[in-house]
Subunit: 190 residues, 2 copies
């Protein structure tokens, strides 16, 4: 639908911008903010956390954290709470920023929170096939949807009991440039 747009350098700017050939409207492409949370579920066992199995592409069938794009006029905490509600039917309370990740490859900034259930209970929302609490040792590491889910879970585990400053990207991928690794799911069990 964006056929009328071209990339064009405007006066005083230092990079090309997506510009409508007809009316000159500049659709600035800005990095998008993803907000999400690692929700502690102690009842699931030591290091218990909430994960959602994706009902949508990309990475349908893989496990992720409740997270998604921040909307306009929403705070980062409100967004993280809304996403937990939409994806996991979970009412959460946030306990501070866990991590700020940059996925430069995708133009994303992810603000991840430490969280817990404010009201007991969770269930799959429309974008999840399944929502489950896993003890740390039960987490299906081979079926995690995105590198940043690994990063967030590790940051959460390392900070458990003594939350430190918000983490940034891990040293092995400081700019968020590594694409997804590993094969797709062999079969869809959903």
């Amino acid at each position: 639908m964006a056929g009328a747009f071209e990339r064009k350098r405007h006066e005083g700017d230092d990079r090309d911008r997506l510009t409508c050939r007809d009316c000159g409207f500049v659709a600035y492409e800005n990095p998008k903010v993803v907000v999400g949370s690692v929700v502690s579920i102690p009842e699931a066992g030591p290091g218990g956390v909430l994960l959602c199995r994706r009902a949508i592409e990309p990475r349908r069938g893989f496990w992720t954290l409740p997270a998604g794009y921040l909307e306009m006029n929403e705070t980062v905490e409100e967004g993280a709470r809304r996403e937990a509600w939409e994806e996991a039917c979970a009412r959460i309370a946030t306990d501070g920023v866990l991590a700020v990740f940059s996925i430069a490859r995708l133009g994303q900034v992810q603000v991840m929170f430490r969280a817990r259930l404010a009201v007991p209970g969770y269930a799959p929302g429309p974008e999840s096939l399944e929502v489950r609490a896993f003890a740390w040792d039960e987490i299906p590491w081979a079926e995690i949807a995105f590198p940043s889910v690994h990063w967030a879970l590790q940051a959460w585990k390392e900070g458990a009991g003594h939350p430190g400053p918000a983490m940034l990207n891990p040293p092995e991928d400081p700019r968020g440039m590594r694409p997804l690794a590993g094969p797709a799911l062999a079969g869809d069990a959903g």
Copy 2:
């Protein structure tokens, strides 16, 4: 220039989107990411920090931190370093996330870093009238450009020497809804 756009509800969506009447292009309005830093300048005296006097609207003539919009395919740290270079001709090193502020009123998320000079020296860039290091007690509090500059400076001061977890909005404005307060500058000394 966006005269051809209207706000329209699309199927499966829960809010109106800016949509081109002609071609149907949806210009999603996403919150924008601002990255910036509180740059410590110990030589300026106790609690010394770097401030820039704005050469552009809004709030021309008022003092702000080196900060600006994150660009695509840039990490938050890279963005903070670029902004310090563009606005204050300062080469900085970041020391972790100081704060994540939500300015819901403007659809902004601000990621602010603790920083210091990696290379001595600073000077006004094109968007600054003046760049100065102030000891804490010399900061021109009545001429600060934005509430979030106050917040960031206070967060930095409170965390000096013992950086804690990243701060979120202060209790008095948890959603970033308060507009600028106070009169404009009486005169432009620049």
